[in-house]
């Protein structure tokens, strides 16, 4: 039996995209294999490492577990939509300044989880930060620097907001 590809329409990093995908494809595969955006990382593919985290309709999700058609009409944000090389997002700047990036494989997912938190809660307590990134595994940093980076980025974002 032929696997029929069907049209999936959604908004990716502010741009409307149309792409033909298989009914068994996961969102991660559409982003990487079809749209060739490689910032989102493929890790465990079982929802346990968080490296494929993207924001869908305002919520952090592991894109390896999201059947692509769940994104029909959705607004999806990946690391490519966060800052630019010349104008980094406060989270990206803060991760670099705090040494919260080592090998870097978990970083895009970590930033997306942190951003989903700060978008909803601009002034999180450390416990809330830990909960937000509990689904993102980092084998390098030990998390202390990541937590500090998120606290400082939150502060920076609040100051930007006040200006």
């Amino acid at each position: 039996m032929m696997k029929q590809k069907l049209k999936l329409r959604f908004t990716l990093n502010g741009e409307y995209v149309e792409v033909y995908v298989s009914p068994d494809q996961m969102l991660l595969s559409v982003i990487k294999d079809d749209l060739h955006m490689h910032g989102t990382k493929r890790g465990c593919e079982a929802g346990e490492c968080g490296s494929c985290t993207v924001i869908m309709d305002g919520k952090a999700v592991t894109s390896c577990l999201i059947p692509a058609f769940k994104a029909q009409g959705a607004i999806v944000e990946t690391i490519e939509g966060v800052g630019t090389p010349d104008n980094l997002h406060p989270l990206q700047k803060s991760f670099i300044e705090n040494g919260a990036v080592q090998c870097g494989y978990c970083t895009p997912g970590m930033i997306m989880s942190a951003k989903a938190l700060l978008d909803q809660n601009p002034n999180p307590i450390p416990e809330e930060i830990r909960t937000a990134i509990a689904g993102n595994i980092c084998r390098c940093t030990g998390y202390v620097k990541i937590e500090k980076a998120i606290i400082e980025a939150a502060q920076e974002l609040r100051e930007e907001e006040a200006r």
Binding site: M1, M2, K3, Q4, L6, S22, P23, D24, M26, E45, A46, G47, E48, G50, T53, K59, A60, V61, T62, C64, L65, I66, P67, A68, F69, K70, Q72, S113, A116, T131, A132, A134, G135, N136
Partner: protein, 293 residues
Amino acid sequence: MIREYVLSKTIEEAVGILTKNNGNAMVVSGGTDLAVDLRSESVKTEVLVDVTRIEGLKGITFDDGDVIIGASATMSEISTDERIKTSVSSLAKAAGSVGSVQIRNVATMAGNIVKAQPVADSSVMLVALGAEITIRGTHELKDILVQDAYITVGKSVVDPRKEIITKIKFKKPQKNQGTSFVRLSQRKALATPVINVGAMVSVKDNTIEWARIAMAPVDVKPVRATEAENFLIGKIPTENVFKEAGSLAVNNAKPVTHLVWGSKEYKLAVLPSLVARSLQEAIDEIETKGGMS
């Protein structure tokens, strides 16, 4: 091989597609378990029927003493709902214990029930709450207790190739009733519990009128600590009574050794303390609500 992914708009449409495909179509809600099962090919289907866009399955309602959780309400929605946090904080805690934020943002309690892993945090709490599910297939609507939804590990009475859960319903705990959820696990997130316990206690004239205690994983399904429950009836709630109930809970437990999630001996050793703690927390909640006279 999956040949079709349908975003159903109504319950009737979803049931119709399942019926038409005669076993070759399957319901998907959050899909966090199913995605993994499909990849490993431990589950096979030709058509996936996504039910998360059906309006009638969404949201949480409080209606005339009942709490109704739509089948596609996510763990995140449930764990952060202010009304749930106020009146059934135990369920908010159980839902908030599942997986990680990313998982909770899509996973559902209905999915947990269909999947029938005995240790599923939300299901254990639902058993303690005496919750019921409504199942819709080609048959009439059917209401059954969550407790009776389990057949064995990984197998529930709900066949996702034939029927869907539409809602989960339980009585909102009254002022003289307290609930609690306690959990022992190796880390706070993405960790299968070593033991989890859900409890609900009702008091009258400062004595225990009845108690429901659900525990897992101590058998192939969440288990009621019936000996402890019977013992508690008519007792004045004290630390010693809770300890005694904890010891009795062991009589309904048949845990097995798991290399990662604890040995049989360890589980039996910690179970009494966790049961006692859950009862204490349920009573504390009644006191906080001013339900002890």
